[in-house]
Each structure stands twice: as C-alpha cells, then as structure tokens.
Symmetry: C3
Subunit: 139 residues, 3 copies
Amino acid sequence: MKVENHTIFVQTTAGTDILDLTGRVSEVLGESAVRNGSVHLFVPGSTGALTTIEYESGVVNDLRQAIERMAPEDIPYEHNKRWGDGNGYSHVRAALIGPSLTIPVIEGRMALGTWQQIVLLDFDNRPRERRILLQISGE
Amino acid sequence: MKVENHTIFVQTTAGTDILDLTGRVSEVLGESAVRNGSVHLFVPGSTGALTTIEYESGVVNDLRQAIERMAPEDIPYEHNKRWGDGNGYSHVRAALIGPSLTIPVIEGRMALGTWQQIVLLDFDNRPRERRILLQISGE
Amino acid sequence: MKVENHTIFVQTTAGTDILDLTGRVSEVLGESAVRNGSVHLFVPGSTGALTTIEYESGVVNDLRQAIERMAPEDIPYEHNKRWGDGNGYSHVRAALIGPSLTIPVIEGRMALGTWQQIVLLDFDNRPRERRILLQISGE
C-alpha cells in the first residue's frame, strides 16, 4: 500500500463560486498505479469547502441559496468588525460544510454515482487561486 | 496494510428516511481481518448522505425537522423547473450533509461512542434501493 | 505503511464550546514516524463535532450564531420530551456538522492553510471530558 500526494490549482471568481473538480481528479487518478483504495481531497484555507452534488446549474444555484439562508452575506459578523475584510460569512459557510472529502477507488475508478460530481465551494469575496490537495492511497 | 471493498444494500422509503447502519457495518467488520485502521463509508448518488446520531426516534425526528428548516421541501427550486422530478430539496440536503464518513477501527471494533450510531439519510422523494460502499483499510 | 492510534483528552464547558485542537494534534504528529499520509480525527459521542475554521474569537462567535439559527436551543425537541436531559439541540447540531475530519500529512506536517485551525465543537449542555481519537496513517 502506498500514498501519493498531488495538487490541483483552480482559479475562482468572487461570490460563492461552485466548481466541478471531477474531471481534474479523474485525470490525476488515471495516471496513478492505485487500483483499490481512496482519493482524499482537502482544501487548505478557511473560506473553501468540498462536497458532492449533481453538477447542473439549477441545483447548484439552489445549493447557493440554501447556504445564503444558513449564513447570509449581509447580516453583521463579528469577524468583519475586527478585521474589516467583509468575509465573515465566507468563514462561517466553509466551517459548516467542511474542507475534507474521501471517495473510494475501486478497480482504478472513483465510485461516484452517475449524477454525482465533486465540487469545490469557494466562499471568499474575492477571486482566488485555489490549491486542492489530492491524496491517493491504496494498492 | 490492506484495503477491502464491501457493499451494503438497503431499501428506503419516500420522504427523509433515516436508517441505522451500525449493525450491518459491524457485521461486515466482524468478518474482516483488519484489527487497526478505519472503516470508510460512502453513498454513491446525489440525494443520499451519511452522519452519526443517537438513533432514538425523538432526536431522529428533530434532525429531520432541522433539515426541513435548512432546505424546505415546498419552496421553489430551479432544479425542479428544469427537470420536473420534484427532488431539488433532496439534492441540496445531500450536498449540505455530505456523502462520506470515516470511523476509526481499534482492536477490531469501530470506535463509536456508546450512544452514537451510523445513519444513512435518504432524501429522495421516492423509495430507493441504496448501495453503501464500505471500505475497510488497515492491518 | 502503518497505522497509529492516539487519544487526546480535553475539558469542555457547558454551552457551545469551540476549542482549537491544532497544537495538540501537531504535537502528537511530531512524535510520529509518519512523513506522508493523513491524520484522521474522530469524536466518539453524539453531541460533539469537528471542522476547521480561522480560530479568531470574532468568527468563532459568528459560527456559534449560525449554528444557533440552524438548530436553536430554545425550540421544542422530541428528544427532550422523552429523555428530559434538555440537549436535543446538541444532538441535532452534532449530526449536522459531523464527527469526522481527515487532514493530509505531507513531509511530516499537516497541510492546513495558514489561518486554518482544527476545532472541536462540543454542543452538550454540561461540561464534559472529551476524548478525541487521532489516527495517523502513512509512511
């Protein structure tokens, strides 16, 4: 059994940017010798998160709206009063969804559902170059 | 160190079905040679999720109601307008909770708390046969 | 590749106590021989959860308030009617956030962002001595 570390870079926009990473992760996995094991994804930083969803613009917008209800952008945040960068809502959203996702790899492929894609949620209020760590482990 | 892939099948009902998987997972683990490592659970599909809770019908209903507040069934969803299957709320709920859960295995047992059970949340609006992937890795 | 099991104990207070575990986890990792792999954290029990956040008291309070909106302390919970321990909200909050977190280890260090800390959220309504399981695996 072995561990491989990879990194994916993506460019995001301001606002709640939700990006499909599935193709990029599959490409990296395709070059790995691991046939059975897992892919672990992690987003370093406190305003990004990872989950899965059917990557169809309707439901992606629906998710954006649910998150806006949970941690609205325009209510007062103590973080903003202290640091003045206006992204208190971004930090709260990222903490609620979480930075970590593990997907089983079986016979060389990620065991996702047919309509299930891996997404990065970038909640920050400015464009970012995001680094996503991709750890493949197994045999 | 090794990796074993297993699958559990469960039958769900329509509505937010919350099922205790702990016994089923323990059974599979009991037949494994892994003594120290982890069990990783993953639900393929974009309308299911996994977490832990005390599996007691009161608090299970309380969780159902909290999720209904976060992503109500009867508000408009763009997904429904486009695809007409009426399960926009199911997709949003699943993305918020997440499809993946990892539990340490120590001396052949899952290190759950006394009142902590593994649950599948099936948010889809129709009965499903669900497949849960169970990956055991360790020594 | 190998697996090491460790335990961290922390003392929490009543209310939604949010504690930074990063230093404690780093100390344990510093004594491990694992250079590439992962740290998996798990909180046994159904009223605790784990995530990451910038551990700054402003945004920590903001997170506390978002969670209070999602599962308010003072609304009726079926769990409370049946069990009388008044912590129905604690169980629901813990199930929503989740008990499990995995962080990649690269060249002997956790690959966290600069302002990203590991936090335990103890939602119980009484002080607890909490046990957090820390599993280090890799090479």
